[in-house]
Amino acid sequence: MHPTRKRLVYGVTFTLPALIIFLLFTFYPFVSSLYYSFTQWDIINKPKFIGLDNYRNLLEDRLFIRSALNTVTIALFVVIVQNPLSLLLGLVLNKPFKSSYFLRTAFYLPLVVSLVVVSVTWSNLLQYDGVFNELLLRLGAEKYIQDWLGTTSSALTSIILIQLWYGTGYGAVIYLAGLQSIPQEVYESAQLDGAQGWKKFRFVTFPLLMPSFTICTFLGMVGALKFFEMPYIMTNGGPGDATSTLALVIYNYAFKNNTFGYATAAGILFMIAISVVTALQLKLTRSKEVEY
């Protein structure tokens, strides 16, 4: 056999196992979901082709729209509030404190805990006679005591703040790695040019951190859009539909209502939304990245 040909044959052999698994469990399900999304289907009987009906109904489905709005709210909060806080935390963790190692571990730690455990723990902390209300009582702030996850006005806010506690450390670690990859010389020449304090951050550090900013916004947004465990376990989307998210509503359409075609159509819309939003975001932040 010809050596180049031989190389190719071995290459194909080496990549085949990964390719087969990928095609069977990622590619094929995706392609078939395109088909199922045009059908009415209860998973037991044969799917019945109904054209664009699922999509039409989804766009008029109040629960779906409400869930989309909740999901957008969470994502916006992550991008606008959590992301800058991550950056701030990253900058602080980059300082040569005696306790640096401890601090980095502490702020990252929530992330290794399962979201199921996080949901259960915060349900307990926030229940009416739980730790949080007890604390308010001791601090003399009785008038704020309420059923945090059971009240329409505070349920989504509570979940978003728990996400803040959970996710800020992750972003901070990414910014920290970005900060540590900036060569010292850059700072030295900035110093010579008289850049200090805010100026140094605004014109030197931040532009060089842009790649970290891109990736942090991207990961934060994707994570926020896929919000499932917390609303499912803590509030089951309630009260009413106050904390319903897209990931949760798609799950319910399929495994609670047995409308599998409808759920798949919702899943396709969900994917299109994620792709569009993240593509726009990557385009926007990538254009601001600079070289040194």
């Binding site: 196992p17 469990f25 601090l103 259960v120 920290l176 969900f270």
Partner: protein, 281 residues
């Protein structure tokens, strides 16, 4: 000169105060993590005074849980799924990543792009077809299905890590081995795979938490009681005995402690892995 020493003193004081503030803040952040363990050794009646420190370590919650549910089996299921996934993932992704990195043929570059494109498909889009697929392959309620799903889902990220890492391995080694008459397979196992170990380590510590903690996978595809993982066991237990907070937290602490230990031990690699694709990618 004088003014600069004053300002540096001010900086020092500011830094000290900032550090003190951060330590306090970090303790607040850690509190819910600590609470999991505190609540697991509380007496049932102590839950009515949530801020009171437990009067003694009460192991009854753990005894109760062990008597009521098969904790050992849930742990074994979790370990089998995590171990099986890692073994399969490391083998298939390292072979693919190494090939893609070394073989400049268009076919393999296309394959890499295809893998990366797979990253944008959310699980919610495919979860119903996977359900159907699992039924037709007779993989419903098998740990094998979860192993295959996790592997498929992580192939893009894992391949990316191996592609990047292979670039740093000098080709002379392969050339020398080739002259010594090593075939591709022997070369891969005896020379390349050991050299890729650091990448493998990074891959393990960045992904195993996700496999261990995954909820929706076993929730949908492992509905059989004998196939519960630690995470779905917690969910199940809470659904059946929602007022037994001590028991619920005993299970939670069992599911969380190994991860905290693993994190503290492997932290260095983890942070490296987190940023491997992100910063330099």
């Amino acid at each position: 000169m004088r003014s600069s020493s004053v300002s540096s003193l001010r900086d020092k004081i500011f830094d000290r105060m900032l550090e003190a503030f951060m330590v306090v803040l970090s303790l607040l952040v850690l509190y819910p993590c600590y609470y999991i363990f505190e609540a697991s050794i509380k007496l049932p009646k102590e839950f009515y005074e949530p801020l009171k420190f437990p009067s003694r370590i009460y192991w009854g919650n753990f005894e109760n849980v062990f008597a009521k549910v098969q904790v050992g089996r849930a742990l074994l299921n979790t370990l089998l799924i995590c171990g099986g996934t890692l073994a399969l993932l490391i083998i298939v992704a390292s072979m693919a990543g190494y090939t893609i990195s070394r073989n400049k043929h268009k076919l393999f570059q296309f394959l890499f792009v295809l893998f990366l494109a797979g990253m944008i498909i959310p699980f919610q889009t495919s979860m119903v077809p996977i359900y159907k697929l699992a039924q037709s392959l007779h993989l419903m309620n098998t740990r094998t299905l979860l192993i295959l799903l996790y592997t498929a889902g992580t192939i893009p990220f894992a391949t990316m890590i191996y592609v990047g890492f292979t670039k740093g391995i000098p080709r002379e080694l392969e050339e020398a081995a080739s002259i010594d008459g090593y075939g591709p397979l022997r070369m891969y196992w005896l020379i390349i795979f050991p050299l890729l170990l650091p990448a493998t380590g990074t891959l393990i510590v960045t992904t195993v938490f996700g496999f261990w903690n995954d909820f929706i996978g076993p929730l949908l595809y492992l509905t059989d009681k004998s196939k519960l993982t630690l995470i779905t066991q917690i969910f199940q237990f809470k659904a059946e005995r929602s007022s037994d907070w001590g028991g619920i937290f005993a299970l939670c602490s069992l599911a969380t402690l190994p991860l905290i230990l693993l994190f503290v031990i492997t932290q260095k690699y983890m942070i490296k892995g987190l940023t491997a694709g992100a910063i330099k990618g």
